[in-house]
Each structure stands twice: as structure tokens, then as C-alpha cells.
């Protein structure tokens, strides 16, 4: 199982070479992997369709309870089959679609990388690895939307998709961690088996955070705007990521967690509401768009809304309807996107208004397009019809807002019929329109994908039991949490859903007749879009960058002094406030045990520190520092720190030498600051000093825990074989720390050496310098020429 997921990433690494070797056929060659994976997953079908579960686990970070574990049940297997099956067609299709593109190798890398991430996402049994794969799909999606990175528009849209989904991803991560903590396990199988979490005190925050993640990923209103913009990606990507698989990751996660998180009031309200709103918004925007891919993208938004709504309802029927609709949608939408790509590739059209009458020049494509569109419209006997009937039945038996949801679904269905009619009729029938390229039926590599997907739609429609017994019942059971007993059938008899379907069909066709008028009628949307979520998003991004640059300018102003003042001010305020708040703060002030020589040294030290500050000559300041260092060394010796004292004396000596050696050549001290600045600095410095004094007085004698020094004192002799405990600590007990320190010293030595010796490039280059260098080089050249000449004359003579 691990191999199945990793093989995609491994192949991705080698894809450019495969591409170079395989040339035109590289798409076919690479597609062998998804084909093999599809066969492998299909071989698991018999066991899973019996309600079986397969689990695989590999340790990853055992200490953090993170393992790479995989769970295969009906739901994840359905997704795995979709990912590998459609992935196979996309690779074949993409290889031909982007043939001759200079970055085709890169396209393969990202596409295969995405395939691996998506497989990992749906197969993961561990929440953390699921999240990692989730983010990986976001990143590969970003790379693929911005595939044509030379275009600013593509970059901008890729960025937009990334920002929206990453924002959701952050929320999701928090939500998943909460979920793991609440359930006491990060293994999905354990969480799902342990029953519902709706009574948990963290339920609501966890639900909201997870839903924020899934809603952004699955483009629910108000985050729907990134999906149509993601159509900047090459069409194979749109067909694969932004219709059949990645955008369904959010739906997948909601379906996956439904047994644990579903069934509550909040779940029901939020999901049905957002789902229904997204459904209607999506299809309404689709009915207004004219760009081929845009129409399809908005209708994908509608499908995602429908799925969310069904998961929100959460009944047995709704669960079955959701998985059925999901499969049907993947089949026909994948096919339709690929047809949109064929229209672009073979005829050069991107907009429904620029196309018509292609049926005679592209007969095969026309047939496939009509077949797929019929499934989209939900017409008997296609699989889309089965999905739509179930959807209506589920909505009609909804526990809340029955009428509202039914009306919304009906409205959406009418417009879906409109979209399907546009897709099935506009490009192929009517007056022939001149297209930029001479239209022709494409190569088999381009047509095989949509054709097989559309035929599958017909096959599953005619024999729904094939899909149901194969996978859908098991998938619906995984969503519902209990075994689902309902089956699928094509014909449910003449009932209310059928009536609704027929009426929506008629109304949809009428709308198609007046499509141009409808777009004209709803032109107020152009105004409304100025206040839409996309504009809000852009405002937010602009605000963020201007805030960031303001903050950088204010805080990172390049003056060390200002950083220091900020830092120290914060420390003084926070620590000072904390000190003031401490109850019974005891300051251990006592002047009893002071020996006279100690007092003299301390007094001298204070004096020399003050002189070092106020003195105007550099040498005098250095002398004061030397005196100060030796005084401190004496203090160390007085208070039993012999080694420290000796070290201090030696270091002080060398420091003074160094200062004299280097800084001697620097100018004398000048008065640079104004008096006001001096006063301000003195206040800050004084406050810091006072704080430190109070801190020392407060800390000493307040030790609460036993230190580890006693261990060193006791064991230095027996274990360290040394009588100087400080040295034993340095070279034995804490030798690794000392080694680190030695490395710091080595770095200092190398740094100093480099700074002085590698100085040629660092000097400022002025024009006169350049002229001098130029003259020098010219002189050299002439000199060598002259030498050569003398040599030659010498040889000849």
C-alpha cells in the first residue's frame, strides 16, 4: 500500500527522463502506473464490497503517535479508483494535449505528484498524515494552476487558489488536532469506531475549524471564487484536479468524518445551508457565463454544493445519493472538461459564443459530448438520472427546510439542464461559425478518455447494480456509519421525483431557448460582483501587504538603538509588571556580611564603570575596562571561583590588547547625540539597571527546586577521576557543550580570517578605481604583447 502511494512520487521524480525517452508516447508510457494502480485497487473490490476494511500501518514518528497508516473501505476505495482511473485518462490526454510544450516534463512531475498526494489523502488512516497529503495537494494544485507561469494572470490566480486553500488548511490542522485530542487517537479507524463526538465540549470549535478547511478546499460559497479562476490551468488539470478529484477532497473529509461529527443540529444546519446556497449560486453563475471552462467550473461548484448539502442531511438515502452523485459527476464532468479541451485544441475556441455547427467536422466528439451532457442533465437511462432521482428523494425526505431545499434543488436542476443543453447543442449544431483552427476530430489519445467515461455513465445507468454492488453501497455505508441496505435502480416508477425531473427538463430547455435573454436579464450581477467575495479577498490581500510594509518600516528601521529600546522597553514593562504583581515579594536586602576589601573592590568597579561611560578618550575607556575586568576577576576569586578568576584575567588581558590593536586607529569620541536623546537613553538604561538589581534581590534565596550541582560535586571524584569539579564538568560531564563552544571559537577564527583576507571585492568601487583598473589591464596587455614581440625578434635573430 505504501508502495502504491509512493510509486507516484517516485515516478514523478523520473518523469522528465521518461518524457525525454518516450517522446510523443510518453503520456501512454507514464499512464501505465495509474493503470496498474487501478487494477490493484480494483482487485480489492470484492473484499471491500462485502463490507470489509483493510488496514496497513508503517511507523513514521513513533514518539509523536504519527504513523503512516492506510485505511481502505468503500469510501476511500471509491476515491482511489476515481483518482487512478481518471488519472490514467488524464495522463494519456495531457501528453497529447500539451504535446510540444516546453515544460511538458514539469507537467508530468506535478500531475504524478498530485496523484500520489491525493491517493495518500484518501487512503490515510492517520489524521496528521492525512493533513500532510492534504497540503501536498494544495501545493501541487498551485503549481499546476500557475503552470503557464510566464502569464501574470496565471500566477495571480494560482496565488489566489493557494491563499484560500492554505488558509482553510491552517484551520483544518487545528480542527484535526482538536479532533484527535477529543477522540484520544489520531487514527481515523479508531475515531470512527469509538462512536459519535457530538457531545464533546470541544465539538463546536472542532467542527467549525474542520468545516472551514473543507469549505475552502471544496469551493463552498463564499469561497467559491477561486475555483473558476483555477481554470487558468491547462485543461487536463482542470478536468482532473478541479473537477473530478482535488476539489472533492473537502467533500471526502466531510463524508469520512460524518459518522463521528455528523448528526448534530450544527452539522445539519451548517452543511445543508451552505451546500444549498453554494448549489444555487454555482449553477446561477454557470448559467450566466459563456467561457466553456468557466461554465463547467461553476457547474462543478454547484455539484460540490449538492454533495455538501446531501452530507448535511446525513440520512441513509442522502449518503447513498451523495456517493452516487459523486461518481456520476466525476464521470460526466471529467468527460466534459476534456471535450472543452478538445474544442480548444482542435478548433481553437474557448467561448460558447464563438462556436457552432461543428457536428459535421467533429462527429465523434459531438457524440461523446452529447452522451456526457445527457448524464449531466440527468436523463434516463444515464447514470446521472439515477443520481438525480436519489438526490430528489433525499431532499424530499429531509428533516428540515423540506420545501426550501426542494425548491432550491429544483431551481438548480432547471439550470443544470440549461448548462447541459448548452454543452450538448451550442458547439455542434446551428449555424457554422468560423473557428481559429480548422476543426477536426482529435487523435485517439484525446478522445479515448471522454469517450470511455461517457460510456461508463451509460453502462452504470443501464445496470446500476453494477456500480452499487461493486462499490457504492460499501462507500455509502462508510459515510452513513452503518451498513446501507438500499440498492440502486434505474426506474423508480412514476413518482414525485420523476415529475420534478421532467418539469425541470422542460423548463431548462425553455431557458436554453432564451439563454441570451437570460444573461441580459441578469446583468445586474456585474454590479453585484463588485461587492463579491473575490473583491473582499483582494482588499484583504492588499491590506495585509500594506500593513506588513508599514510594520516593517516601523519596526525594522535599521537602527540598532531603536531595536534595543523596543526590546528593553518590553522587558522592563512585562517583568516589572510581573514583579509588582507578585504577592509577598521579599527583597533580601542586608549589608551585614560585607568585608572591607570586598566593599572596596565593588566601589572601585562601580566607579570604573561610570568613568568608562563618561570618559571622552578611547584609551582611557579601554584602561577603565581593563581595571574593571581585573576587579571582576578578583571578585570571582574571593567567592571561590578560582578557575573563572584566572580565565577572566587572561581574557581581559587579551581583550585589551585586541582593542588597542584595532580600535586605536579609529577617531576620537565625538558627541553625536542630542541632550534629549541622552536623557532618554539614560532613563532606559537606569530603568534596566534598577530592574536587574531588584530581580537579583528577589531571586536569591528563593530557589525552590534542588539544583543538579550536587550531583557533580558528589560524582566528580568517583566517576570523573578529577578533583577540580569545574574542569570535570567542562571536559567530562558536559563535554558536548564544550565541544559546541569550541566550534563557536573556530567559527570566530575563520570569520575574522575571512573578513580581513578576503577583502578585495568588498572595497567600494568608484569611477576612478574602475579607470585605474582598466588602465592597469591595458598596460599589462601591452606589456605582454611587447614581451612576445621581443621574444619573436630574439628567436628570429
Amino acid at each position: 500500500m505504501l508502495i502504491a502511494v509512493l510509486s507516484c512520487f517516485i515516478l514523478a521524480c523520473f518523469a522528465p527522463w521518461v518524457h525525454r525517452l518516450g517522446g510523443r508516447q510518453s503520456g501512454w508510457l507514464l499512464s501505465l502506473l495509474p493503470a496498474a494502480l487501478f487494477v490493484y485497487f480494483a482487485s480489492l473490490l470484492p473484499e471491500v464490497s462485502q463490507g470489509g476494511q483493510l488496514q496497513f500501518a508503517y511507523p513514521w514518528f513513533p514518539g509523536l503517535q504519527i504513523q503512516l497508516s492506510f485505511l481502505i473501505d468503500g469510501l476511500s476505495l471509491l476515491f482511489a479508483l476515481l483518482i487512478t482511473g481518471i488519472g490514467f485518462f488524464i495522463l494519456v490526454y495531457g501528453g497529447r494535449y500539451l504535446e510540444g510544450h516546453q515544460s511538458l516534463g514539469r507537467f508530468y512531475i506535478f500531475l504524478l505528484g498530485f496523484m500520489g498526494s491525493m491517493l495518500g489523502l484518501v487512503l490515510s488512516d492517520n489524521l496528521i498524515s492525512l493533513f500532510v497529503f492534504w497540503e501536498l495537494t494544495t501545493i501541487t494544485s498551485f503549481m499546476l494552476i500557475g503552470f503557464n507561469h510566464e502569464q501574470e494572470d496565471a500566477r495571480k490566480k494560482a496565488h489566489q487558489g493557494l491563499m484560500v486553500t492554505v488558509l482553510g488548511g491552517l484551520a483544518l490542522m487545528t480542527g484535526l488536532i482538536l479532533l484527535g485530542l477529543a477522540a484520544g487517537s489520531f487514527e481515523l479507524s479508531t475515531i470512527l469506531a469509538s462512536g459519535t463526538l457530538t457531545e464533546h465540549s470541544l465539538y463546536l470549535p472542532m467542527l467549525l475549524l474542520i468545516l472551514l478547511g473543507t469549505f475552502t478546499k471544496s469551493a463552498q460559497t463564499p469561497f467559491h471564487f477561486w475555483l473558476p479562476n483555477a481554470m487558468a490551468a491547462p485543461t487536463p488539470v482542470s478536468a482532473y484536479l478541479h473537477s473530478a478529484t482535488m476539489v472533492k477532497a473537502g467533500v471526502y473529509l466531510m463524508a469520512r468524518l460524518h459518522p463521528s461529527l455528523g448528526g448534530s443540529e450544527a452539522w445539519l444546519l451548517i452543511l445543508t445551508l451552505f451546500g444549498a446556497v453554494t448549489m444555487v449560486t454555482g449553477i446561477f453563475l454557470a448559467s450566466r457565463a459563456t467561457g466553456i471552462k468557466r461554465v463547467l467550473a461553476y457547474s462543478t461548484v454547484m455539484a460540490l454544493g449538492t454533495l455538501t448539502m446531501l452530507l448535511g442531511l446525513g440520512t441513509e438515502k442522502a449518503a447513498l445519493a451523495a456517493v452516487t452523485f459523486l461518481l456520476a459527476h466525476a464521470l460526466y464532468k471529467g468527460a466534459l472538461f476534456m471535450i472543452a479541451g478538445i474544442l480548444d485544441h482542435s478548433a481553437g475556441v474557448k467561448d460558447f459564443r464563438d462556436v457552432g455547427g461543428l457536428r459535421s467536422s467533429m462527429p465523434a466528439t459531438t457524440a461523446v459530448a452529447i452522451l456526457a451532457s445527457l448524464s449531466l442533465a440527468g436523463i434516463i437511462p444515464l447514470f446521472g438520472f439515477v443520481g438525480k432521482e436519489l438526490l430528489l428523494e433525499a431532499v424530499l425526505s429531509a428533516s428540515i427546510w423540506q420545501i426550501g431545499l426542494t425548491v432550491a434543488t429544483l431551481v438548480a436542476n432547471i439550470m443544470v439542464v440549461l448548462v447541459a443543453a448548452i454543452m450538448a447543442l451550442t458547439p455542434w449544431f446551428g449555424k457554422t461559425v468560423e473557428t481559429p483552427k480548422k476543426p477536426h476530430d482529435p487523435n485517439v489519445a484525446l478522445l479515448i478518455g471522454p469517450a470511455l467515461l461517457a460510456v461508463l455513465g451509460l453502462l452504470f445507468g443501464l445496470v446500476p447494480a453494477l456500480a452499487a454492488d461493486g462499490i457504492l453501497t460499501a462507500a455509502a455505508s462508510a459515510v452513513y456509519g452503518q451498513p446501507v441496505t438500499l440498492g440502486l435502480s434505474l426506474w423508480h416508477g412514476i413518482n414525485l421525483p420523476l415529475m420534478l425531473t421532467i418539469s425541470s427538463l422542460i423548463l431548462g430547455l425553455i431557458m436554453f431557448r432564451f439563454w441570451a435573454g437570460w444573461r441580459h436579464m441578469t446583468r445586474f450581477m456585474q454590479t453585484a460582483e463588485k461587492f463579491g467575495p473575490e473583491v473582499i479577498y483582494e482588499r484583504l490581500m492588499l491590506g495585509m501587504t500594506s500593513f506588513a510594509s508599514w510594520q516593517t518600516k516601523t519596526l525594522q528601521n535599521g537602527y540598532l538603538r531603536n531595536y534595543l529600546i523596543t526590546t528593553l522597553g518590553t522587558v522592563i514593562i512585562i517583568v516589572g509588571w510581573a514583579l509588582l504583581r507578585v504577592q509577598h515579594l521579599e527583597l533580601h536586602i542586608s549589608f551585614d556580611d560585607i568585608k572591607i576589601h570586598e566593599f572596596a573592590i565593588v566601589a572601585l568597579l562601580i566607579l570604573s564603570a561610570i568613568i568608562a561611560v563618561v570618559v571622552r578618550s578611547f584609551l582611557a575607556a579601554v584602561a577603565m575596562l581593563g581595571a574593571l575586568g581585573f576587579g571582576v576577576a578578583l571578585l570571582y576569586v574571593f567567592f571561590s571561583a578560582v578557575d573563572v578568576g584566572i580565565t577572566q584575567v587572561l581574557v581581559e588581558t587579551i581583550t585589551v590588547l585586541l582593542l588597542v590593536l584595532v580600535l586605536y586607529r579609529l577617531p576620537e569620541f565625538r558627541s553625536l547625540s542630542s541632550t534629549a536623546n541622552r536623557i532618554r537613553d539614560a532613563i532606559i538604561a537606569g530603568a534596566t539597571g534598577l530592574l536587574m538589581t531588584v530581580l537579583v534581590l528577589a531571586i536569591t534565596g528563593a530557589r525552590q527546586l534542588e539544583g543538579i550541582s550536587e550531583y557533580f560535586l558528589q560524582n566528580s571524584g568517583p566517576l570523573g577521576h578529577g578533583r577540580n569539579v569545574v574542569n570535570v564538568i567542562l571536559v567530562d560531564f558536559r563535554a558536548l557543550d564544550t565541544l559546541g563552544e569550541l566550534f563557536v571559537l573556530a567559527l570566530v577564527a575563520i570569520g575574522v580570517y575571512a573578513m580581513i583576507h578576503l577583502r578585495t571585492g568588498a572595497l567600494p568601487v568608484t569611477n576612478s578605481d574602475r579607470r585605474a583598473a582598466f588602465n592597469f589591464r591595458r598596460a599589462q596587455k601591452e606589456k605582454s604583447k611587447a614581451e612576445q614581440q621581443t621574444k619573436e625578434t630574439g628567436e628570429s635573430s
Binding site: 537602527y559 540598532l560 538603538r561 528593553l568 533580601h588 556580611d593 570586598e598 566593599f599 565593588v602 564603570a609 568608562a612 561611560v613 575596562l625 574593571l628 571582576v632 570571582y636 574571593f638 571561590s640 571561583a641 578557575d643 573563572v644 580565565t647 577572566q648 587579551i654 581583550t655 584595532v662 580600535l663 579609529l666 577617531p667 569620541f669 565625538r670 553625536l672 547625540s673 537613553d681 532606559i684 534596566t688 530592574l691 536587574m692 531588584v694 537579583v696 536569591t700 539544583g707 543538579i708 550541582s709 560535586l713 571524584g717 568517583p718 578533583r723 569539579v725 569545574v726 564538568i729 567542562l730 558536559r734 563552544e741 563557536v744 571559537l745 570566530v748 570569520g751 573578513m755 568588498a762
Partner: protein
């Protein structure tokens, strides 16, 4: 004695901070030296001051009988003194080079030269 040391540490900190806030880089270096002394003394004082009981085991014995100064604090300070020297040496050479290149020791003017 701790009280006296606390006052000393406070003075060192104040002097160090004041010098580091000046515009001259040379004064910054002086501030750095003062600051490292202040920090070392802080650790030293907080670990407890003991007169005439160095953490040395008498010859022929295995452990120290009676009180001894905290050896860990001393080891830490010893390390800190040497590291402080390293950092100081680096800073001094850096400043030396910087002054050579930009011909000033005023940090305000240095900032303008990039």
C-alpha cells in the same frame, strides 16, 4: 554581600545599555564588554556566593566534605567568558572593516551607505 553585588550588577547593566544606545560603534563595543561582565556576575551571584570554599576536592579524598561553591555556575561562566571573548573579537574585527569601508564610526551614517 548579595545586596552589594545586586547594586553592582544593576550599575553594570545600566552602563552597558547606555553605551549600546550611543551612535558610535566603538561605544557599542564597550557596551558589549560591560554587558557580558554584567551577565556573568548575574549568574554568579544568583548561584549563591560562598567565601573560600572552591569546588576542589582535597587530595586523597573522594568527595568534598561540607559546603562548596556551585561548580555548575562556574563552568557556565567560564564558558561564557571565552565565548564572550570570541564574539567580541568578531565584533571588533567587523567594526574595523566596516569603518575602513564606510569611513565613519557613526551608525546613523553607516546605515545610509548600505
Amino acid at each position: 554581600m548579595t545586596t552589594l553585588m545586586a547594586i553592582l550588577i544593576g550599575t553594570f547593566y545600566a552602563a552597558a545599555i547606555y553605551m549600546m544606545l550611543r551612535r558610535s560603534v566603538v561605544k557599542l563595543v564597550i557596551g558589549l564588554i560591560l554587558l557580558s561582565n554584567a551577565a556573568n556576575l548575574l549568574i554568579f551571584t544568583v548561584a549563591g556566593l560562598e567565601r573560600g570554599t572552591p569546588p576542589l576536592i582535597p587530595k586523597g579524598q573522594d568527595v568534598i566534605v561540607g559546603a562548596a561553591a556551585d561548580p555548575l555556575a562556574q563552568a557556565v561562566i567560564l564558558t561564557s567568558i571565552v565565548i564572550g571573548f570570541g564574539v567580541l573579537a568578531f565584533a571588533v574585527v567587523l567594526i574595523h572593516r566596516a569603518c575602513e569601508v564606510v569611513q565613519t564610526d557613526d551608525m546613523n551614517e553607516m546605515k545610509g551607505t548600505d
